[in-house]
Structures are given as C-alpha cells and as structure tokens.
Subunit: 472 residues, 2 copies
C-alpha cells in the first residue's frame, strides 16, 4: 500500500469511529503532514482519495469536511403476507446471472463476489503457489471425506468468535457453502417436504429445493430484523414443516442482522415444533460491528441447527471451500456430501489452513469489514443521488450487497436487458423468491472500492430506472 492510501485509511477509520461527525472540519493538510511525517502532496492525495470514496468534501479556502449526513432513503417494504408452500421456478433467470464468463469488462453489480484485490490476500496466494508445487499424497490425491483435519481445527477455532464451541471432528469441509446447504437440505428432507425460508433469500437454496422436489414456504422478512417470528409460528402451526432455512446474520440480499433475542426465540420455536434449522452464516464474519454477532447455532443445545458457511465471501469464491457443522445430523450429511462430490479438493484446504494458522485471516477480515462499510455509505449516497425519488433502499449491517425496491409493477428483468448494452448487470429481485416475487426489486454489489467507473455504472442504473419509471 502506498503512503497516501495508508493515510487515507487512517483518517477514514477515524471518521467511521465517529471521531469526526457529519459536517465537521477535518484536520488541515499541514497538520496531518506534521502528525504523520509525510509531504503536503501525500496528504493532498490522501484527501482526494477520501473524496473519491465519499468520505471527505472540499470547501473552497476552508479545507476538507465530513459530508453532511443525508436523509437516509426509506427502507424497502418487503414484509408481505405469508403464502402457501410453492414449487420453485426462476432457474432461467438464475442461469442468466451466472452463465457468463468472468470478465473485467462487464460491470457486474449482480453477483455475490467479494473484492479479491486486497493485499491481505497475498499470503494465501503464496501458500497456494508453494503447495501447488508439491507432488505428494496430501495435495494430489483423495483427502479425508470429512476434510483436512488441520483446516477443520482452524474452523473450529474461528467459530468461537460466533459463540460456538464445536470440535473439529463435528465439522465437515464442503465444496463451498453451496454444497453445505445442498447436503443439509437433502439430509433433512424428502421430495414433497416443506421447507420454511426467509424471503427474499439466496437463489442457490431456492434452486436446490426446486431440484430436489421440495416446496418452499416463504416467510416475510423485516428489512432491519429479519424473518417474521409471528409468520413463522403461524406457518409451523399450519404446515408440516421439515426445516427452517435462513440467513440471519448479514442476510443477502437485505443485509440485516437478526437481533439476538429473535435468534433465541426462533430456536425456541424450532424446539417446540421439533424442526431443524439450516443456518447460512456465509456473510456472518463480515458484520460491520465488532465482535461479530452470535449465530443461532451458538444457542443450540440439542444439535438441531446445521450451520453452513464458507470462505467464498470473506476470502475468495474460486477456492470452493466451505463447511458445515451439522449437529446431530453429522452422519447423514456426510453421506450426502460423499454422494454429491466425494472428498473435497486438498490443495485449497491446505492453503487455507496455513493462511489462518499463520494469523493472516483476522487482519484481512478487519480490513474488508471497514472497506465494505465505507463502500456501503458511498453506495447509499450514490443511490440517493442518481436514482429517482421514491425508491427504497436497504441499510446493510454487514456484507457487500444492497437491495433497492422500485414501485410495484416495475420490471427489473427489462431493466437488466436495457443495461446489458452498456455492459452493466444487476441481480433481478425475483431470483431471490421461490415464487418469483420481487420483480420490482434489484440487488447490487458494492464490494469493490468506490471508483469513477462504478459510480458511472450506478448512475447509469439509476437513469435507466428513472426512464423506465417515467414510461409507465
């Protein structure tokens, strides 16, 4: 990292921590130059960088200020009535999202990709490269079906941060969180069974339910507190629900963190009706607040919670390494994992174990959490600036996804086709619903550091939204 970036990070962190409040004057260029022992031009560069990130505003002849807090846009209105269990559709639309080649040209605001450009990932690449040269059993042949024991020990240690004490022997490494969720669903349910899901929610789970012939019962979610417990209780009374699947911490697409009391209450409900919980925690370590929120699993006493996670959002999706702590369902989950893919690839597991035990994971997480939080503020600012009045926006408390709701009747599929000609893609809302709801919504990714091309893209999305809204 260059000197000016370093300095910009320091000042940015102070703003985040509330040392300078909206409207406050920031230290002068000269003062910072003396404090940090750097040149005046380095400080100026740092301020320009902060300006690009939306964290500082210059006023002629007065220096730099923290931008005044704008009125936050209204929250999405996604609580909707519960409905009957449905068969899942939308595969064509999901395929449209994920069928393309990775490309530097396309501005891909639609996918759940983290920023992979951070220098804090370098030790992982060094491990991958070094281990990749080794011609031995550990890297080249079938590993243990449970996963590498060294990595499982590191995962067991990491899970302490979310309040879980799970021995390494009760963790199974999987091919990404995707396989963990898929194995959990198959371990618990038969075709025709009903699974209650938070809504909107991850399209991978929706498609797995579809493919395995299960029915999804979508439960409405509050954009700040998550799944409606009232709706869940009603559903548990009415339907023979086999499992509850949800993403309670830094939910995608809505970004909320379910309050701890709600997590406990949900577990109590699950116990009362004797159903299992499949908890997706893939974004949990990217909560902006520290220490990270507890998982539902951390309150689980009788092994009914199957916690699924991965390194795909915190480190790099291309590793395809996730895990599941399946509680009392360990044997069945292991069987499903074996049936699906056999053992997980060894090389990325060994590299990850080395990266974490070498102490590189925590600094990386700290950095990404701060970056994503700053990017969120800039993204909200941009949406407020470039989208037409009346759109509603989520307030993510973690991860790097934002949800925008347009008026009823808006068609985000049509929007995506319009944007395609400009090399921009957003995620259409309906793929996050089993029944194809939320067609008037979209999800955007703000993982990358704010930059002029991304601002341009968000502006283009906003203008296309406005144009489409004006037509109708």
């Amino acid at each position: 990292m260059t000197l000016y970036q370093n300095l910009a990070d320091v000042i940015g962190a102070r703003i985040e921590q509330g040392l300078y409040l909206p409207g406050d004057r920031l230290p002068s260029v000269r003062a910072l130059s003396v404090e940090h022992g750097v040149s005046l031009s380095t400080v100026q560069q740092a301020y320009r960088h902060l300006e690009d990130q939306g964290l500082a505003t210059p006023r002629p002849k007065s220096g730099y200020f923290v931008p005044a807090a704008r009125q936050a846009p209204a929250l999405p209105n996604v609580i909707r009535n519960a409905q009957r269990p449905v068969e899942v559709s939308q595969w064509d639309q999901v395929l449209e999202q994920i069928g393309g080649e990775p490309s530097e040209k396309l501005i891909q605001l639609g996918r759940g990709r983290p920023d992979i450009s951070s220098p804090t990932l370098k030790p992982l690449l060094r491990s991958l490269s070094r281990l990749g040269r080794r011609q031995d059993l550990n890297t080249l042949t079938y590993g243990n079906i449970y996963g590498d024991i060294g990595l499982r020990e590191q995962i067991s240690r990491l899970m302490l941060d979310s309040g879980c004490q799970i021995p390494a022997t009760e963790i199974v490494v999987t091919t990404g969180c995707h396989e963990a969720l898929s194995a959990a669903i198959r371990a618990l349910c038969e075709p025709g069974d009903i699974v209650a899901v938070d809504s909107p929610s991850f399209h991978g789970v929706m498609q797995a339910l579809k493919g395995f012939g299960m029915k999804a019962l979508e439960l409405p979610s509050d954009p700040l507190t998550g799944i409606s417990l009232e709706a869940l209780e009603l559903a548990l009374e009415q339907w023979p629900i086999k499992a509850i699947q949800l993403t309670p911490t830094c939910n995608s697409p809505l970004g909320y963190i379910m309050p701890e009391a709600n997590k406990r209450a949900l577990l109590t409900l699950a116990q009362r009706y004797d159903v299992a919980i499949i908890e997706d925690d893939v974004y949990g370590e990217l909560a902006y607040r520290y220490p990270r929120p507890r998982t539902i699993k951390s309150f689980d006493e009788d092994g009914r919670v199957l916690l699924c996670s991965s390194f795909s959002k915190t480190l790099a999706p291309g590793m395809r390494v996730g895990w599941i702590a399946p509680g009392r369902y360990l044997d069945r989950v292991l069987h499903m994992k074996y049936m699906g893919t056999g053992a997980t690839a060894q090389l990325p597991q060994l590299a990850l174990a080395e990266f974490i035990s070498g102490g590189h994971y925590e600094p990386h997480l700290r950095r990404m959490r701060a970056q994503y939080q700053r990017s969120r503020d800039v993204m909200i600012e941009w949406i407020a600036r470039y989208f037409p009045a009346g759109v509603k926006v989520s307030q993510p408390q973690g991860s790097f996804m934002i949800w925008v709701e347009m008026p009823e009747g808006f068609d985000s599929h049509r929007l995506n086709r319009t944007l395609a000609s400009q090399g921009i893609q957003i995620a259409t809302g309906s793929i996050f619903s089993a029944a194809g709801k939320y067609r008037n919504c979209l999800r955007m990714n703000y993982a990358s550091k704010p930059s002029a091309p991304i601002e341009q893209a968000v502006r283009a999305v906003g203008e296309a939204v406005a144009a489409q809204m004006a037509e109708s």
Copy 2:
C-alpha cells in the same frame, strides 16, 4: 530419471512388446553395455530393477531370462442371477474405506488412487503453482457455471480419441466424475425409480442411488466382456427401468473392456426401451491397448448417453475436476450441478487446460498405461505366488485395479480387520454391490511401481487369506 531406470524401461518395453517371450534369455550385461554405451554396473542395476518388477529372472552363470509364463489364475465367477431391484446399503463399509487421512505409512491397496509420482506430472504442478500466484478474477472468483471454456475445448478435443465429436458447449465441467455421475442420476430419476447397474460396480454410484432414494437392479457382468446383455434385456422387459448406469471400458473393479459389438447392442436395447445410459469412462484412457476403445457415447445418435469422466484416475484425484457430456439432458444436468456445488473451482481448471494444450497429457498417458500394464503382470504373478490355490483373479485390460474371488463363505471384512494391525488395507467386495454381495471378494490397487514393500503387503494379504481359509 537415472540411467539404469531408463535402460530398465527400454528392456521392459521390449518384453511387453513380445520381442522376448517367456523363458527367453535376455541380452547379456556386456551386450547391453555396448549397445547403450553405459557401464556394466548400470546394466546390472537395470536388471536388478527388472527383477524387482518381476520382468527378469536371474539364473546362476546363465544371465537373465524372461520369467516363464505361469498358468494364469482362473477368472472370477461373478456372473450371478439377476435379482429384484434393491435399496442400497453398505455405507458404513464405504466410510471405513474412505474415512482415513492420506498417509504414507498405510499400505492402501483398497482405494482407487493412481500413481501420482510420475515426472510427467511436473508441468501440471508448475502451472498450478504459477496460476496460484495470480490475484485476478480468473483464479479467485466464481467461474462460468458450465466450466472454463478453454478446458472444455481441450476436453472436446480429447474426446475425439474415443470416437466422440462433442462441441465444447455441450460439455459441463464438474467437481470430479463423482459429481458428474451424481448430477446425471438426479437429472434422470425420481426417488423410487429403478436404475440398472453393472455389478460389481463403483460404490459412489451405489451410494448416490441409496441417498437419492432410488433402487438398483444389479445386472451380472462377465469378467471379460462385461454386463450381460441377456440379463439386461430381460430386466428391461420386466421392470420400468429409468436408466442404465455402467462402466464399460476398463471397468472397476473387474478391469474388462466391453467389446464394441456389445456396446452397440446395449445402445440398441436402450433405444428400443427408450432409456438413458449413464456411461462412466473414468478409466477409459487407461486401456492398455492403443488406440483406446470407443465409448458407447461415440455411437449415440439421439443424445441418450450421458458420458461422465474426470482427470482423477489419469492425472490426480486431488484436482477434483471431471466432466459430463449429457446429450439431450444438458439443461437438467446443469441445473443439478448448480444445485449441488455451484461453479467448479477455477484454478485447477486453468492449470489442466494449460497442461493439455501444452502437449503434456498424451506422453503422461502413454507412460502410465505402460507402467500399469507391467504392474498388472507383476501383481498377477504375486497373487499366483502368495495367495492359496483356488482363488480366482480378474485379467484387467486397463486401469490399475484387480479383483480376487475367494471361495463362497469367505469374509473379506474380517480379512481387512486382520490386515489393519499390519497397516494394510484392501477394498472389501461387498461395497461394489447394492445388496452387499461379493463379501468373498476383494479389490487391490496396483498403480504404484512394484516394490519390495508392496510385494510384502501382497504376500501378507495372501497369507492372511490362506489362514482364514484354513480355519473354515
């Protein structure tokens, strides 16, 4: 490779090619020293090496000879009556096989691991290592759900060797052949459906049928020509069979290659009864004869054959890269693949594409085919020498697996427990049957170059078999 190894390989190849027949005198040490311009001691080392491999026998004061051909042991007697479709069991026994850590200490004769020590793998490791350092979208993020297009083009080209003209766009990369088979089964069948399988056969498929709630109808296989077409036709008449799943080329565990006429006849049957064929070709490129045998897929005209394969047996299982050419079922298979694991890891795909396009795959295959063929002969020799009279042995025409049948009533599970104390493991026969048949059989791996420790292990297995047979 050292000089003497090189020379041993040359002489070994001549023996394989039939230049010297069983009982023939091999060239004198002096003659070879002159012919190859190497020292007498190098030739002597080469002969000792050939002796270790069972390819040369010294006679005092007469020099080296090709060992006299022993009477080949009798073939296994595995053709058994067809039976009713059954639910699959044996998961505990499979887990016993695959649940351990990779270890240099255990002499693991049970698993389907190739030899990964060949120098011809080095370019693959170099690519892995070099690409592993790259911090970019291609290696670290989600790839295309179909797989990397560069790799799919290479696979399309490789498939020409088996008589298939399949464009890259009709190939889906998977997390090993395991995922290909699992996705194929789920794409074709619902729970309760009947799948006809060759028997004995791959335990991964058996377990997938179990886990997805399907029934397996085991069809008897001839140890030289494979699945019984008469039994298949009878089964197709009697039962509503959804798919036929088989490994016709270098079958594991039996090692046969189904004759081309039988492959065509099987396809005709499948057309007549309108069922799909799931063809596992994972060992197909390790047929000892050249050019390699054609696949059933190569005769397929209406897209009913789903060809599944991988680089796990030809290169390295730890890569977890396989593929499927699903014919008319492309869309459904892709959906199943997405539901199971999402996109396949990028890094190993890119390294494999580089390895193949760099021209390193063919030389590697040639070397491994020759090595495995020689190892097979040594293994058959060892079994004839160390196992009690009366055991029956397969005659593998490819791959690196051999099947040994003991008399009815023999218990290979008990055998494995006896061997465990000596750090040796074989695969018990019953995991290759849906109904737990073949408990009196075992499978052994001969991928590694013959060596004194492996000979010792085979001898120990033979002695334990003899001891157990003597008891009863």
